[in-house]
Structures are given as structure tokens and as C-alpha cells.
Assembly symmetry: C2
């Protein structure tokens, strides 16, 4: 089993969905990723918070073996905050506010002992910072990145430099279309693979996910959920389950990648069942395996 390192945000989120409202709950890409990945492999988190951050909120991660010593606490600084409201169909949301705070001057610094971590996930942050992390690593076996419409639209040349240095990319369908400049996802996938990442995952929310790898395509189903309470963090939790599974397996061949997509999908399907990362706190490996079994059954022909 290999360790994996994530650099991303640790945040306080205020979320409103048709089912309720929660203020200043635990959020952030690194948080959700670590919550998903911690079921499979030792996770190392690089991030930043202000000294207003209630560190005990991360206790459930520490108990699952997540090493939080790479989270810098800025004295006198305020933690990154995000606020959003979901539409009735839960597939769309409006960002009500983003307060970068300590994130504004964040310069990720890897503890010396972490530089040889074999698996690294560059969560959705400035592509310049993503490369700063990569440049501090010795020779990662597999580097996986996330990004979003904001970086594609505003700093595409920097993003392209980052993409040229990673092995894999996880984006959603809209981001893939925007990045490649074509509405057709198959054409978009080819174009993005041409930018660097040999392995590409396109998340399609309620329609599942696509994996593009070495000329082949894998189509993973979505879990037929009747009640989605809060989609926040589902994408990062997917990435955590996917990548944690790869790190545990210690390989990235086609069969392992396909299994990993199912584990990522299963983790994400739990994430949306409750507000924030709440459902991931008391989730068990037994529940995860049972749901992966349901995913297999969903796609089983005959």
C-alpha cells in the first residue's frame, strides 16, 4: 500500500439546498478528498487554515490515519470560506460568496519526508501552485490533477503547463468541453489527452463518469439515488475514493483504473446523502463494498 499526498483547500462552507441550510461547516477539496481516500491508504494533507479554524473538526480524519501535519496554521489569519445555494434539481448551484483569506498568500511547502510520496493529488487550486507542489516532489509514480472553469477561463496558459506535467486529470463534463473547446466529449477527451494527461476521468454527475485511458473508454453508471441532500464535495470525494483505491492497489493498469472509478463513484454517492462531509464520518468499509457491489449490478449485462 502506497501513501498519497493531497494539496488543496480546507474550508468553512455555508450551504443551502432545498432540504436545509448549514453554516460554517467543514469543507474544502483536501478535506473531502482525504475523507474518501483514507479508507484505502495513508493520506498526507498539505493546506492552510487561519487560527480561527476548529481543528477538532478534522479528528475523524486523524483517527483514520490521515496525517494533517502539512496543514499550515496562519497565526492571526482567517480560514478560506465558501458559500453557495443549490437549485431545486441539485444539478446547479450559485456561489453566494468566496472569501480566500489565508488562501490568498498560500505557498504550499512539503515536509521534507513527504517529497517521495508516490501518489499526489493536486486538488482544484491555482495551476501555478499545483506546479509548485510537483516541483517539490522527487519522482511521483502518478500525479493526478483537478481544475475548474475559473482557471480554464482566466489562466489557461498556466493550466496547460500543469497539464503537461501530470499523468491524470479529473474534470466534470462542462469543464472538459470548455477546456477542449468542443461540445463532443469523445473529441474533448482526445484533445485533453493531447495536452498531457494519459488518463482522463470526466464526471457527469447524475449520469455517472467516463474513464479515457490508452484508447479505451469505460462508462461507469451513477447510483440511482432518490434523495440527494447536498452535492458539495462529491467530486473531491470521488477523486479520493478513486485515487485511494489506486494507491492501495499500487498500480494503474486499465482493470485497476476501472475498479477505482467504481470505488470513487460509491464514495461520492455516500457523500451526497447528508450535509457536508457528515456521511463520510461514520461510513464503514463494509458499506462501501456493498455499494460497489450495487454499482457492479447496475451495469451487469444479462
Amino acid at each position: 500500500m502506497s501513501s498519497l499526498l493531497v494539496v488543496g483547500t480546507v474550508a468553512l462552507d455555508s450551504v443551502e439546498t432545498p432540504y436545509g441550510k448549514a453554516d460554517e461547516i467543514l469543507g474544502g477539496s483536501a478535506t473531502y478528498f482525504a475523507a474518501g481516500a483514507s479508507f484505502f491508504a495513508p493520506v498526507r494533507v498539505v493546506g492552510v487554515v487561519g487560527d480561527d479554524f476548529p481543528m477538532e473538526k478534522l479528528d475523524f480524519l486523524r483517527k483514520r490515519g490521515v496525517d494533517l501535519s502539512g496543514i499550515e496554521v496562519v497565526s492571526g489569519g482567517k480560514t478560506f470560506r465558501w458559500s453557495g445555494r443549490y437549485h431545486l434539481d441539485l444539478n446547479h448551484r450559485d456561489t453566494l460568496g468566496t472569501w480566500l483569506n489565508v488562501l490568498e498568500t498560500f505557498q504550499p511547502k512539503l515536509p521534507e519526508a513527504w517529497r517521495d510520496t508516490p501518489y499526489v493529488f493536486l486538488a482544484n487550486i491555482d495551476p501555478v501552485l499545483q506546479r509548485q507542489v510537483l516541483s517539490q516532489m522527487k519522482a511521483p509514480k502518478f500525479a493526478l490533477a483537478d481544475t475548474m472553469n475559473f482557471w480554464i477561463g482566466s489562466v489557461k496558459p498556466e493550466l496547460l503547463k500543469t497539464l503537461a506535467s501530470v499523468d491524470g486529470l479529473i474534470v466534470n463534463d462542462e469543464e472538459a468541453r470548455q477546456l477542449a473547446g468542443t461540445p463532443n466529449l469523445v473529441k474533448a477527451a482526445k484533445a485533453i489527452q493531447g495536452m498531457g494527461p494519459r488518463t482522463l476521468i470526466i464526471k457527469k454527475g447524475e449520469h455517472g463518469a467516463l474513464l479515457f485511458h490508452e484508447g479505451r473508454v469505460f462508462s461507469a453508471p451513477a447510483y440511482p439515488l432518490e434523495d440527494v441532500f447536498d452535492p458539495t464535495g462529491a467530486g473531491d470525494t470521488f477523486a479520493g475514493g478513486f485515487y485511494g483505491y489506486l494507491a492501495r492497489a499500487g498500480k494503474t493498469d486499465e482493470a485497476t483504473l476501472r475498479q477505482a472509478v467504481l470505488y470513487g463513484s460509491a464514495l461520492a454517492s455516500f457523500c451526497v446523502e447528508k450535509f457536508g462531509p457528515q456521511r463520510l464520518v461514520d461510513l464503514t468499509m463494509k458499506e462501501i463494498e456493498a455499494r460497489v457491489g450495487e454499482f457492479r449490478d447496475l451495469a451487469r449485462v444479462g
Copy 2:
């Protein structure tokens, strides 16, 4: 192998896509359905055209054993015409015109010898006419219906009566949401199954299809097509492939239904490769089997 009967439209379509334009080409739900189903089982078509209709356009169906003797030719009448323009992403289209013509007074009449056909597909026509067909049949083994937003919005009570008398329904995701009055597809499926059809297929275009049957869900992938030329008729071709496969198998258990969804998906993926039903004219069973194999591979885990 059992026969199957379809009642639906035989039309002349004028279609514009980002890739080209075609005027007065062969169209209609019964036409596309028969084209898809004819690879698997003997098909009987009930419909109506005017005497302006060039019957030789249907020769490719006749050669594949489709019995067209249930198509009434109205002397002095004009054939049903539809005209539409697709958007750049090909997922949306505008109807430019619908000329019902002979369809306006259509009263489907089944040849006496066809009344005991075991499988019947009620393509997307007025639900009152759909029931008129059912009432002329002896005891169909399985009755499958299609419908559309127009009937859901304008004659829902009539549609509900039809749904109460069929075994299966094929709709797209928007129609399912509208019919059930909920954005969640799993909830919508349960509500629709409560209206009558035990078997429900929800088509999701570029996201594949869902099959709901006896409490289980099957998620079929979509074929990762780079070039879609004309989506017209894909839904009816899907229905034809699906239903033809069922009729050939002579059973409707879960395993057969799942296989049938893959065959329907494969047929639909061919349909969109060329304008109108053109690609279905010279298609071979060997090509179909190869593509079904690709569909299996798309969803194969590990």
C-alpha cells in the same frame, strides 16, 4: 421467434443539422422502429400515407421481411410531414413545422390475421389511437408504448388510461420528469411504474439509458460517438432494436431485457451516423454484433 406489430407514423422529413440538410427524406416512428426491429423478428407495420408517398423508399424494409400491408394509402391524401433544425450540440432541436395531413383522420385498422401478434409497439401517436390498436388485439404477450411531451401536456388523462393497459413504456428523461412531475429520475420511474407499465426504459441520449424492472435498475452506457450527423429517429430505432431482440428471444425476463437494451443502444448508435434512416439500409447483423460487443466492453469492470 415471435412476430411484432408496430403502429406509428410513416413520414417525409426535412432535417437540418450543423452537418447538412436533407429535404423530404424517409421518416416516421414506424419506419425507424421497423428498420431497427427487422434485424431480429418479422415486423408488421400499421400506418397511413397519402398517395404522394414514394413506396419504393420502403423497399429495404420489405427485403428484410417487414410486412407493409397494414399501411393504408389514402387516395388523394398527403403524407404526414415533419421539419426540424438541430442545434450545434445536436442534443436540442427546433421543430420548424408539422403537417399532419392524412394523420389527422387516421383510424388504425388491424388486418384480421394480425390480431394475435404477441408483441405490439405503440409508437408515439395520440394515446386514444394507441388504445384503439390495443382493443383490436386478442391478448398480446407484451405491449410497449412510447409517448411525448405533447400528449403528456395536453391529454394526460387519456395517456394515463393507455399506460394502465401496457406492459412497458419507453420515454426520454425529460418526458419521464414531466410525466411524473419530479426532477429525480428514480422517483419518477417509481411513479410511472405505479401508472401501469412494469417495465420502464428512460433514454438519456448521450448519457445512455436506464431500465427499471421489478425493483432493479440497469444502467446502459452510451456509445462514445465522435460524430453524430443526425439524431432523427434514434429513439424509435432504439425501440426497434430493443423490442426486436425481445421478440426474437420470446421472453421478457431481467437478463433478456438488459441484453435487449444493449441491442437497442447499438442500433440507435448506428442510426445517428448518417442522415435519416440511411445507415440502417445497408447495416448488417455482423456490424450490430460487433457494436454490442463494444457496448459490453464499455461497461465491463476490471
